[in-house]
């Protein structure tokens, strides 16, 4: 889908528009200003227009009904006026619309500081989240930016549909939204989009981020929302049945598909026997959680899991490991301490990591770290929390709440709206 000036365009029109994109964006930048209230009003109207009839649209995209209802509820919340106002205040500060006037310490300069949009944002979206392009563009609009989207190759059309509706609600937004579905191989066209942008917002894995870094000149800023890894850290006092059940619930409920899902568990030990004992103890808990969930995974996924678990056992000739296989889930106990993704879908790893090594072992993964579930005793909690934060972890929770979202939470440790604005300083002539 290609969208410009509020209209769906064909490939010929797209070529013409992209050819003159610098002219269109500079015209908008120089002649217009987008204030948050315009965007908030449009989003709120869009949120209120969402109804049960839209479930048909999601069903046509292959989204199961239950999940579809959840997405619509999420959209209603995330586009709602109160929520957007709350975000602006939390992320940019309560006086985000105000100018900050002051005189420098030595009174030689009187300045006005204020938040200002970056200008033009290029959103390179990934296909791993429904409506990602929509939410990314709304963040760009709230901060007054022009938004160009390079849709992912498997885009489902949901964002395009919603953004068209948004422009319908508020035609002033038409000059601030462009959607292009160039394939990732069309580096020439993507290069043009990069050239007109002040910043590129990249969603996706390491390879996507690396590819964008390679293509981008120092003139354009890159804002990366890459993939992350989350895990649990457990000490003996923290290994209660209750805390481990919470962790197991996160593993089976998210199927370990989210950045915040627990991929594996580090134990505060140097002994492999402790690891094996833990696996023996945790496996039935994990298995029970899956069983109680009463959700049978598709045959294709179960088959893939079996192949991967079996392959791990074959690979033990080079990467020593022991597979603990339950009726519905599995645990692989490794001798190494590398932070890695798991087989997923209820199959986690367990490794050794004495607390004095936390920073040394985890810090090399710096930008990949997200949530750590900490299962420990009260006395050690502060110390281990600090060690994990020093290593680069951005969120600490208990096992059950790893993927629990709360209003106004950061995105991987940052406020997106803050990243899409700059602070400008203007000298006041007195």
């Amino acid at each position: 889908m290609n969208l410009a000036f509020g209209k769906i365009i064909d490939q010929k029109e797209r070529a013409e528009i992209v050819g003159a994109l610098d002219m269109f964006t500079s015209k908008t930048l120089s002649q217009k200003t987008l204030v948050p209230s315009i965007v908030i009003n449009a989003c709120d109207r869009l949120a209120r227009s969402i109804g049960t009839e839209h479930i048909e649209l999601l069903l046509s995209l292959g989204i199961p009904k239950k999940q579809g209802i959840q997405y619509l509820e999420e959209a209603k919340t995330m586009l709602n006026r109160d929520y957007l106002l709350f975000r602006l205040e939390k992320e940019l500060g309560p006086s985000y619309m105000e100018e900050n006037n002051f005189t420098t310490g030595d009174e030689t300069l009187a300045v006005t500081e204020k938040l200002y949009p970056l200008g033009v944002l290029l959103h390179i979206t990934a296909g791993n989240q429904y409506g990602l392009a929509l939410y990314s563009v709304i963040e760009g609009l709230l901060t007054g930016n022009i938004n160009i989207v390079k849709l992912s190759s498997d885009d489902d059309g949901l964002s395009g549909f919603a953004l068209q509706e948004l422009i319908h609600m508020e035609p002033l937004l038409a000059d601030y939204i462009y959607l292009f579905d160039y394939p990732s191989t069309d580096t020439k066209a993507i290069g043009k989009l990069i050239d007109v942008s002040n910043a590129i917002i990249v969603w996706g894995g390491d390879r996507a981020v690396q590819a964008v870094r390679k293509m981008t000149s120092p003139l354009t800023q890159i804002i990366e929302w890459g993939h992350k890894i989350s895990f649990a850290y457990a000490t003996k006092p923290g290994m209660t049945k209750e805390s481990l059940t919470g962790l197991a619930q996160n593993i089976v409920q998210t199927n370990q598909l989210l950045c915040s899902s627990c991929q594996g568990i580090y134990l505060d030990t140097e002994s492999m026997d402790d690891i094996y004992d833990f696996c023996d103890y945790f496996l039935p808990i994990l298995d029970d959680c899956r069983k109680n969930q009463r959700l049978e995974l598709p045959m294709e996924i179960r088959a893939q899991n079996s192949i991967q678990i079996y392959t791990e056992s074959l690979e033990s000739i080079e990467t020593p490991c022991k597979v603990f296989k339950g009726a519905h889930t599995s645990i692989v106990a490794y001798e190494n301490n590398k932070l890695d993704i798991s087989i997923m879908h209820g199959n986690c790893w367990v490794k050794r990591l004495p607390s004095h090594d936390i920073v040394k072992i985890l810090q090399p993964n710096k930008n990949h770290l997200q949530t750590a579930a900490l299962l420990c005793g009260d006395i050690e909690r502060n110390h281990i929390t600090n060690q994990l934060l020093k290593a680069g972890v951005v969120r600490i929770t208990d096992g059950a709440n790893m993927s629990k979202i709360y209003r106004g939470a950061t995105h991987d440790g940052y406020y997106p709206l803050r990243k899409y604005m700059r602070v400008v300083s203007i000298e006041r002539m007195i």
Partner: protein, 371 residues
């Protein structure tokens, strides 16, 4: 390797009485690999397998299969590389391509197997033929097994002309939609049969294009369509066999009986050609086991599970027993009704994460192709 030679020179492609030779060939093959590939020997050992466990034909299932996933990350060779000829690679659609090398004797026996298989299925003809290859043009920079197979299929009848859907420019492949359409129209006016070989998805796109352009052709009655490979990244557009055959019959004038399908796995090397009822019967050169998707234990006829292919063809690599990503079901040969009594399998799907949306690190990104 006496039994292997005997097996691959067997006069009948679908004979029922080859279990003893097959078992002998597998045992010899495993003995060879254990003594020539240290990594494979260790691998079998960690799975608790020893040669002593292979006492009779019924024990073949005990041999730990090697998953194709394992081969994407590890190389296993039972011969020095300089003795290995011709390397085919997998497409790498789902990750790293796997290189497969052949020993000289396997190449010769393999060629004989191909000749016999195609002869049995009446694919060999002396009538000069024009070809449309719905796949890649062979190139020095492409060693994919699918390319070799598609090219080899153009030698089954003397080729007059070949037109490729993916043309090689020397450095990359470009889609040759117009060239294929023009060639097809030209071929339809000639007094020679036409053979269309390649991926089913490409045939679908071709007949769709013909439909859009309102072109209905009536190709020579001896023309033939020979399809192989999955729909892979075009899975969303997949149509069932019967629909595709019907569509192609309408636009090309080729009757359903003239459609053949081929199943092959680069890591396994035995070709499976469909019978007149479009079923893949298991030839004497291999055995097929279906394994339970959880326990990986063998399943009886009619139960779906993971496809495990066994053949003692290669001495170069220990690929005797391969666990594929395919989910399949095995049926008794008699259930088919085509006259071949060997069991046949049906591919139902593929293990994997297709359609799953994940944001965990390492998950496929949409920009992976960008360099």
């Amino acid at each position: 390797m006496y039994n292997r030679t005997k097996l691959f020179l067997h006069k009948n492609v679908y004979s029922k009485n080859t279990d003893d030779i097959f078992f002998g060939a597998v045992r010899e093959n495993i003995e060879w690999h254990i003594s020539h590939c240290v990594k494979y020997a260790r691998l079998l050992e960690t799975q608790g397998f020893t040669l002593q466990k292979l006492k009779s034909y019924e024990d073949i299932y005990r041999l730990p299969p090697i998953p194709t996933l394992f081969l994407k990350k590890h190389e296993l060779f039972s011969m020095p590389l300089q003795k290995i000829h011709m390397q085919s690679t997998t497409s790498g659609t789902s990750g790293t391509p796997v290189k497969v090398g052949f020993d000289k004797s396997a190449m010769l026996l393999g060629l004989n197997m191909l000749r016999k298989t195609f002869f049995y299925h009446k694919m060999i003809s002396a009538v000069p033929t024009n070809y449309i290859v719905l796949g890649y043009e062979p190139s020095t920079h492409n060693h994919m097994g699918a390319v070799r197979t598609a090219y080899a299929a153009t030698l089954l009848a003397p080729p007059l002309h070949r037109e490729y859907a993916l043309k090689d420019t020397g450095t990359e492949y470009v889609l040759n939609e117009e060239g294929v359409l023009n060639a097809l129209i030209t071929y339809s006016k000639k007094p020679f049969p036409v053979r269309i070989n390649g991926f089913p998805a490409y045939l679908y796109f071709l007949v769709e294009k013909l439909k859009q352009e309102k072109i209905r052709l009536s190709l020579h009655p001896k023309s033939l369509i020979f399809l192989g490979g999955g729909w892979k990244k075009f899975a969303a557009q997949k149509v069932d066999k019967q629909t595709l055959y019907k569509m192609a019959e309408e636009q090309l004038g080729i009757a359903e009986q003239r459609f053949h399908e081929f199943f092959g796995v680069v890591e396994h090397n035995v070709p499976y050609c469909d019978c007149k009822n479009h079923h893949f019967h298991v030839p004497v050169y291999s055995r097929v086991l279906i394994r339970d998707i959880h326990s990986l234990e063998p399943l009886p006829y009619g139960k779906p599970g993971l496809l495990n292919l066994i053949t003692p063809l290669l001495k170069s690599m220990p690929l005797t027993s391969i666990l594929t990503d395919d989910i399949a079901v095995l049926h008794r040969g008699e259930e088919c009704g085509c006259g071949i009594s060997a069991p046949y399998f049906e591919v139902l799907g593929r293990a994997g994460l297709q359609g799953i949306k994940t944001c965990a690190a390492g998950a496929g990104s949409m920009l992976e192709e960008l360099k």
